[in-house]
């Protein structure tokens, strides 16, 4: 029953992965052979394709990607946490709140890009409200901020939903105990809520980290492809690939893959014990609930 899945994954993931890694060491095109004839083909190039990794464009893209990831994920965690805390207490208009929080998640990223591009136009509503004349979507430092705002808008509610699910499994008794012991709201948050919601929060952060590191469509649509101020690693790889520079594109792709893998590894290693024990626990309790429900 697994074989169709493995076949599909082999075709659409493992083949490309291996092919890209191989490709990253090869060069193709035309060159002169030993006798001076022009031959067309592919030859081993060693690390030549990786030379670009040390160049300005790649470093710039890597810095942009890292900046976007660090800033947006931090903002999303803070905002998502706040949203979850509000939603847990909201009884009136709960369904409305849940529907509205799904809107940013459901809007396609490309559409969100267009939407914010319109809001951030030179004579758009953002400048009108702020009383400024900033060129948000032109290639420049403000474009970074525009991308960060748009990305945070789109994904903070998603983080909120994941954290809310974590909050909802905290038993009411621990809050009662905190109240009896005379804890202030801040103490309750710091000492009760935060430690108990941490596992859910970590999963959300891991998901968002992996997603943010491959960001592509938002800067592409909001500012444009090949714009230095917002070009991400995925953008750079896409650009090289569509110019048929498969060698460098594969090398950069492999580098991005390694970057993401290292971040995931470090994240799970540093915080992983928590993550795994939580997953196991939930699985057990989920199974128990399922049994109880049917019985």
């Amino acid at each position: 029953m697994l074989s169709p899945t493995l076949l599909v994954l082999a075709l659409v993931v493992f083949y490309p992965l291996v092919a890209a890694m191989r490709e990253s060491f090869y060069e193709s095109g035309q060159r002169l052979d030993a006798d001076g004839f022009v031959v067309e083909g592919e030859w081993f190039a060693g690390l030549a394709n990786y030379a670009g990794v040390a160049q300005q464009r790649f470093i710039n893209a890597a810095l942009n990607t890292t900046l976007f990831t660090v800033v947006t994920v931090s903002l999303e965690v803070v905002l998502g946490m706040a949203m979850a805390l509000v939603m847990r207490r909201a009884f009136r208009g709960r369904a409305f709140l849940r529907a509205s929080i799904l809107v940013p998640w459901a809007v396609p990223t490309a559409v969100a890009g267009l939407m914010w591009k319109w809001i951030f136009q030179a004579d758009g509503v953002a400048n009108a409200l702020l009383g400024t004349q900033i060129l948000w979507t032109a290639d420049g430092p403000w474009a970074k901020l525009a991308v960060i705002v748009a990305d945070t808008w789109k994904t903070a509610p998603f983080v909120g939903l994941l954290v809310l699910a974590g909050l909802q499994i905290i038993p009411a008794e621990v809050y009662e105990a905190a109240r009896v012991d005379g804890a202030t709201p801040w103490q309750t948050f710091r000492r009760v809520t935060l430690p108990l919601v941490k596992p859910a929060l970590l999963v959300a952060v891991l998901f968002r980290l992996m997603d943010a590191l491959r960001i592509f469509d938002l800067p592409y649509v909001l500012v444009g492809p090949r714009k230095q101020s917002v070009e991400t690693l995925s953008g750079l790889i896409w650009d090289e690939a569509t110019r048929v520079h498969y060698g460098p594109a594969s090398a950069y792709g492999t580098a991005l893959f390694v970057y993401i893998a290292v971040i995931a590894f470090v994240f799970v290693k540093l915080l992983g014990a928590d993550l795994l024990s939580d997953v196991r626990e939930r699985r057990l309790s989920g199974r128990r609930e399922g049994n109880a429900r049917v019985a």
């Binding site: 029953m1 169709p4 899945t5 994954l9 890209a20 529907a99 994941l162 592509f216 995925s234 690939a241």
Partner: protein, 270 residues
């Protein structure tokens, strides 16, 4: 405290809806007063919507393309993924955890890495500008999502049901098909919605594998709308198109919000 709670609720709703509201409002303005900043259009106009469906925009066609790509991807993914999820949830075999870990790892692969060799391959076999060039790579993210969600779901169903079915003479496969699958229908349905939305919103594959307007999906098409003059961005038209592309998803969200939230958090937490 009540005041704060109320303020928080309103704050979240405003945060989520105001930018979207601005897109909707702008789409109903006339091109002449597209730059107005009044909260409601005056007068209301369908000019932008007429422009979207002008023949040379190819927007209707792109919606159809999106529907085909997202629909077929979802169907194939469910077919393949349901089997895998059932096996992962129920059968015990060697390397099961490896497969599960693999599925999660796969969903974290950067799309940009996958498109490089696939672009080369599809160019070689003449798949550029075809539906399958978008459908096949889309499974790289739709399939892990499906398997992960459905495995969680199958795990919550009690073993006893299949055991009863098998005692009554069902083969394991018949027990799966006749007993488990109908029970899992809500979970399969939720997963289908999530996979459909994910594929509908897909961008990097579609923008890479297709450059023919006739085959472009809606998300790519509207990003490439051009105005009468070359550097004149037709914002009204883009906003109207954006509303139309988002509308099916917003409807799904309104009808199935409870399930979608359950599916999203199940995939992430359990």
């Amino acid at each position: 405290m009540h005041v704060w709670r109320r303020a928080g609720t309103i704050g979240i709703a405003l945060y989520c809806l105001v930018p979207f509201y601005w897109m909707v409002v702008s789409s109903f303005r006339r091109t002449a007063d597209i730059h107005d900043t009044t909260p409601l259009p005056s007068p209301w106009s369908l000019e932008s919507y007429e422009a979207v469906f002008a023949a040379d925009m190819g927007f209707g066609r792109s919606l159809l393309n999106s529907l085909v790509v997202a629909g077929v991807t979802t169907a194939v993914t469910l077919l393949v993924g349901t089997l895998a999820a059932y096996a992962l949830a129920r059968l015990s075999f060697r390397g099961k955890n490896v497969v599960l870990a693999l599925v999660i790892a796969v969903s974290m692969f950067p799309g940009a890495l996958l498109i490089v060799p696939l672009l080369k391959l599809f160019t070689a076999i003449g798949w550029i500008n075809t539906y399958q060039a978008m459908i096949v790579p889309s499974m790289s993210f739709a399939l892990p999502l499906t398997i992960w969600n459905l495995t969680t779901f199958f795990r919550q169903l009690p073993y006893e049901l299949e055991q009863a079915a098998m005692i009554d003479g069902c083969t394991p496969f018949a027990a799966f098909r006749r007993v488990m699958l109908p029970l899992a229908a809500p979970g399969v349905f939720t997963t289908a919605i999530l996979a459909f939305i994910a594929t509908w919103n897909e961008f990097i594959i579609a923008v890479t594998m297709v450059n023919d307007q006739e085959r472009q999906t809606a998300t790519v098409r509207i990003a490439q709308f051009t105005g009468a003059a070359k550097f004149d961005t037709p914002f009204g038209t883009q906003m109207a198109a954006g509303v139309l592309v988002t509308l099916p998803l917003v409807l799904l969200v309104l009808f199935f919000q409870r399930r979608i939230v359950a599916g999203l958090t199940a995939g992430a937490l359990k």
